[in-house]
């Protein structure tokens, strides 16, 4: 009996090894270096912009000597009849082409190719979807009272009618724009022109998809964006005319809602990137694979069509 207890104690001591062990990296298949291409085109563009970068093996050695960005690629876009080459903008680190050279038209399919001197070549295609108009913007306000102060918050959401006969994918956005005319500071004796202000609306993130929406299971119905906070104004409790403060604080304020009718690869790619980042490094969550329509590479080349609706705030 005694011997048994001793051997048990020995076993317990023996058990105190580490439960975290480094694994030989060779059990992972090496991904190799791939070209990563990102470009999104729409008829509303003024400048076509494409980013070319490279992937690195997951278990790479620390040297960041090789940068992610690829600066020596040849990037072209074609609509089937003519080919336009992009120019590299080394300040912004993007490949750019003027829309004048290659107008983007609804219904047209475009082919993007990128190649590097070391022989890597990738290509992708995208077709521009139809525009979908925004039907209405809804403006809500809520008043919260804390102590003597009242806080009035304005929120918007907007709706649109989903075309019934096709599968659609959307991204919605918006911004608040106003003229900051009251506060101008004379610089060098000269009064500066009024500074315009832009505030990008933060929509409540749909937990699964960010600002993306597909008409899956709601084909042809009236779709709604999440709501976004536009402005919050504090007023004294005794002052009932909160609304006037808006025009005072945000003169000439208007909300611009934007609806992007995107192609499927845009939706799948953006959605997956969003979800992969949301899952983070948790080993218990299912990893999110990021699909790519770049043949021979990674990333996304997609097309969308944007519509806008303006709501002046009074």
């Amino acid at each position: 009996m005694k011997a048994l207890f001793y051997s048990l104690i020995l076993l317990i001591i023996g058990a105190c090894g580490s439960l975290r062990n480094e694994v030989d990296p060779s059990i992972l298949s090496a991904g190799g270096e791939k070209l990563v291409v990102n470009g999104y085109i729409s008829p509303q563009d003024t400048l076509l912009t494409v980013k070319v970068s490279r992937s690195k093996p997951a278990l790479v050695e620390p040297s960041e000597a090789v940068p992610f960005v690829v600066e020596n690629a040849t990037v072209t876009i074609s609509d089937g009849s003519k080919v336009v080459a992009f120019r590299y903008n080394s300040v912004r680190q993007f490949y750019q082409a003027s829309i004048a050279l290659m107008p983007i038209k609804t219904g047209q399919t475009y082919t993007l190719t990128a190649s590097t001197p070391d022989g890597k070549q990738v290509s992708a295609q995208a077709t521009v979807p139809k525009p979908v108009p925004i039907s209405a913007i809804n403006l809500d306000s809520t008043i919260t009272t804390t102590g003597l102060a009242k806080t009035k918050s304005y929120r918007i959401s907007f709706v649109w009618e989903d075309p019934a006969t096709e599968t659609n994918f959307y991204q919605y956005e918006g911004y608040l724009q106003w003229k900051d005319s009251k506060f101008t500071y004379p610089i060098g004796g000269q009064s500066e022109a009024p500074v315009p202000n832009i505030f990008v609306l933060q929509f409540n993130r749909d937990r699964a998809t960010g600002n993306l929406l597909s008409d899956d299971r709601q084909q042809g119905s009236l779709l709604t964006s999440q709501s976004a906070n536009v402005a919050t104004i504090s007023v004294q409790k005794s002052d009932p005319k909160a609304a006037e403060y808006v025009t005072y604080t945000y003169p000439g304020a208007r909300v611009v809602a934007q609806l992007l009718n995107t192609d499927e690869s845009f939706y799948r790619y953006t959605n997956a990137v969003f979800r992969q980042r949301q899952v983070g490094n948790s080993p218990f969550a299912e990893p999110v694979l990021i699909p790519s329509n770049i043949v021979g590479g990674l990333g996304c080349f997609a097309a969308y069509n944007r519509t806008e609706k303006v709501l002046p705030l009074k």
Binding site: G31, N38, D45, A58, R155, V200, A208, S227, P283
Partner: protein, 811 residues
């Protein structure tokens, strides 16, 4: 529908006709354990020297109808009990009550594919596993906590998930596809401590039976398996008790007659009550308190309680009341800032059963059943002197059922069963109360959903001649509620053909429907797993399975071959409309309170299909001092979901090509039992990054230019970067983890006295200290001499060698 009804009516009319044949008499009765008078299920009744026989049902009842004879010899037997022989004159119907003596410890028999000394080759049933509880207690277990589900994982066709988890993966199906019933009541979450232990306390169980294919018509409701657990009735002779002390939990059991038995007349009633509780929290409480100056109390515990009571109303009637209640609780309270957090979950079940014997050939059972599973999160935090944040989240499912079953034995070669069940489910996918003084009170409830699930069935076990063994039947399942209604027929057939008296070929087909679904986003037995009904958007799951097999009993003569049996089975299973969480979806159905849109759980799931095929070999030694088995499974499982892996098929995490288990028990002497198990399994199919890159997205931030007047024009979306995006390669789950293997060793020291018995048990889980992978993670690792960090792959394991000791005392 009409054909089905005609078939059923025809069957019912025909069967009594068979029974009306002249000059036949019926012998019926009950088989009990001698002493405790516990009813014995699955005991075999055979006519000596003839291939005619039957078995007792769940309540120990049997009935056999034979041609008139001056003398008929019947042999009554059951694994672990000494056989008994009775010779009766068959000139009129007979009622026989037989008590079997529990066998010697040394003669006890290990897990058998079919209970009783009924050879595996003689039954049409295939793909069924029975676990005698006495054997579960011999097999070494993690921390000494004997676990029914983990022993089942050692059988071919049944696999474990991650290390230490009690969930069952049966023939390519997930833990959501198993129907787990305890005394007719469905147990919705069989996990304690996040799946490391199952809720079943072996002390209170009488039998455990798992069916993984060839389902008889009486079973329905899940795709992959039915795990039928029966609680002990309680001893009728005198008060018995058992106390067990282990490293993490203690157990107590008391059973006995309710009224004092008279000499020669056993008590008409008995009870059993058993309880188990962990005591980690009690041990840890003073330490936590001391370290936080008494400000913090935190802990975790689980307990479960089983109770059963039965009463003989008369020779033909008996009632049973049984219940289970279990709960896991995690809590943390901090007095300094008035914060308290709690997490709790548990099942409660209750069953009221009434046995009635209409005649010697017709036995009925009626059950009223209640089952409830609930999961709660509660958080309460003082934000400042005036404001308090309160969150209460509840999800769960509650059932009320009525079930009626009839067993009818018209002739020795027919055993009919028919009956039906109706269940009212109430689902509470989520109910949230959020209270925050600075916001208004928010109460958001996803509506409770009430649905009705039903099933009627008829089946016959038919032995037309000396070669054929057939179990055929039909189940009609139905579901109404949540805006949908279904009635679906489910044909079932199992056949055996005896090539030789000890060798048979078998084949079976079963179609199963599943109307309730489990949303589980981890594959680990978390309490957050959510049961949901079939709706307009989510169709019932359906599986079809065919299996063929061979069963061979070896000669009883040789020492080594005594009780040795071999079964080989091959199966193909197809599953449709199975559901899974979409990638990145979240379990807590908490939506944006300010949004007009409500979160629907349906939006978080994706529907797909799966298929699994493989072969299973089981070689068992059922009797003798040395007993045990060797199991091998070769299988392939694939899934295909519209929104996973780009719609292409992939191997799910628990696809396991090879699975081996070796279990051995050896009675060295009446005082010492040695046992060992060794398992091997192909590594899990995982998704591991192969590369990383920067993904540039289209910003919902804006890029704009200004014109000469300073007005903003040309508002454009811009490219923005997401760093650290991982590339997992084009296909999901292409990385295979290292194989899993483990050896467990156990030793039991028995001390028997006329009035009591004590057992010391020593065991070592993972005896050779294998570092089995639990998960892999990519992390950066610091380097010496200010070198930049490197990125490396780490393997995490859960259990090194875990020795344990436990003690139990029984009177």
């Amino acid at each position: 529908m009409r054909h089905v009804l005609c078939f059923l009516i025809g069957w019912l009319l025909l069967s009594p006709a068979l029974a009306q044949l002249p000059n036949r008499f019926t012998i019926s009765g009950y088989i009990h354990e001698a002493g405790t008078r516990e009813a014995l299920l699955g005991a075999t009744i055979r006519v000596a020297n003839r291939p005619v026989g039957t078995q007792t049902n769940t309540f120990g009842f049997f009935s056999i109808t034979l041609p008139a004879a001056d003398s008929v010899t019947l042999v009554f037997s059951l694994v672990g009990y000494g056989p008994q022989t009775r010779t009766v004159s068959l000139r009129q119907n007979q009622v026989l009550s037989v008590d079997l003596m529990p066998g010697q410890q040394l003669n006890e028999v290990v897990i058998s594919e079919k209970r009783g000394q009924d050879p595996v080759s003689d039954s049409p049933q295939m793909s069924q596993i029975d676990l005698p509880i006495a054997q579960i207690k011999k097999i070494p277990a993690l921390l000494g906590e004997k676990d029914v589900l983990k022993v089942l994982q050692l059988m071919p066709g049944v696999q474990k998930g991650s290390e230490g988890q009690s969930g069952l993966y049966v023939r390519g199906g997930g833990p959501d596809q198993n129907l787990i019933v305890l005394d007719d009541a469905v147990v919705y979450n069989a996990s304690h401590l996040f799946g490391f232990f199952s809720v079943f306390n072996g002390d209170a169980l009488k039998s455990v039976e798992l069916t993984k294919g060839g389902f008889p018509a009486r079973f329905g409701g899940r795709l992959s398996s039915v795990l039928d657990l029966t609680m002990k009735d309680g001893a009728r002779d005198k008060l018995h008790g058992e106390v067990g002390i282990g490293l993490i939990a203690s157990r107590i059991l008391v059973e006995g007659p309710l009224s004092k038995p008279q000499p020669g007349r056993p008590s008409r009633s008995s009870f059993i009550i058993s309880a188990r509780r962990t005591y980690l929290d009690i041990v840890a409480a003073p330490i936590i308190k001391a370290q936080t100056n008494g400000e913090t109390a935190a802990g975790y515990y689980f307990y479960d309680l089983n109770a059963k009571l039965n009463y003989d109303l008369g020779p033909r009637d008996r009632v049973y009341v049984s219940g289970y209640f279990g709960r896991d609780k995690f809590y943390a309270n901090d007095n300094t800032n008035g914060t308290s957090v709690g997490l709790g979950w548990g099942n409660a079940t209750g069953t009221l059963r009434w046995n009635h014997q209409f005649s010697q050939k017709l036995f009925a059972n009626t059950s009223l059943i209640f089952s409830n599973y609930q999961f709660d999160i509660a958080a309460n935090q003082l934000i400042d002197s005036q404001n308090r944040f309160v969150l209460e989240y509840t999800s769960g499912i509650r059932d009320f059922s009525i079930k009626h079953d009839l067993d009818f034995y018209p002739a020795p070669n027919h055993a009919l069963r028919f009956g039906g069940q109706l269940t009212a489910h109430r689902f509470t996918p989520s109910a949230i109360v959020l209270q925050n003084n600075s916001l208004a009170n928010i109460r958001r409830e996803v509506d409770q959903i009430d649905v009705l699930e039903g099933g009627i069935y008829a089946e016959d076990t038919w032995k037309p001649d000396d070669h054929w063994r057939i179990n055929g039947g039909l189940r009609l399942s139905s579901f109404t509620g949540a805006g949908v209604a279904y009635v679906r027929p489910e044909p079932r057939i199992s056949m055996g053909y005896l090539l030789r008296p000890d060798l048979s070929l078998k084949a079976s087909y079963a179609l199963m429907n599943q109307y309730v679904h489990l949303l589980s986003n981890t594959g680990i037995g978390l309490p957050t797993d959510l049961w949901v009904p079939t709706t307009e958007l989510v169709k019932p799951q359906q599986a079809q399975q065919v299996a063929v097999g061979l069963a061979k009993d070896f000669a009883a003569g040789g020492t080594f071959t005594k009780g040795l049996a071999l079964t080989v089975e091959g199966y193909y299973k197809r599953m449709d409309n199975i559901i899974n969480y979409r990638e990145g979806a979240s379990f807590l159905l908490i939506d944006d309170p300010t949004s007009a849109r409500r979160v629907r759980w349906e939006d978080n799931v994706t529907v797909g299909r799966g298929w699994s095929y493989g072969a299973e070999v089981l070689l068992q030694k059922k009797e003798g001092r040395f007993s045990g088995w060797v199991g091998y499974t070769l299988s392939w499982t694939q899934w295909q979901f519209a929104e996973l892996n780009g719609g292409r098929p992939f191997y799910p995490r628990y696809d396991r090509r090879h699975d081996i288990s070796v279990v051995g028990m050896y009675d060295l002497s009446p005082r010492i039992t040695l046992s060992a198990t060794w398992v091997y399994g192909t590594g899990q199919a995982l998704t591991v990054p192969t590369a990383r890159y920067r993904a540039y997205g289209l910003s919902n931030g804006v890029d704009y230019t200004r014109n000469d007047q300073g007005n903003v024009t040309n508002v454009q979306s811009t490219l923005y970067t997401n760093t650290g995006v991982r590339d997992y390669g084009p296909e999901k789950n292409t990385f295979r983890a290292e194989p899993y293997h483990r050896l467990d060793l156990g030793m039991q020291l028995h001390r028997k006295r006329p009035t009591h018995e004590s057992v010391w048990e020593f065991s070592a889980y993972n005896a050779y200290n294998r570092r089995n992978p639990f998960f892999y993670n990519i992390e950066s690792k610091k380097q010496l001499n200010n070198q930049p960090d490197v990125t490396v792959l780490y393997k995490y394991s859960v259990f090194p060698i875990v020795p344990s000791v436990s003690y139990s005392y029984k009177f």
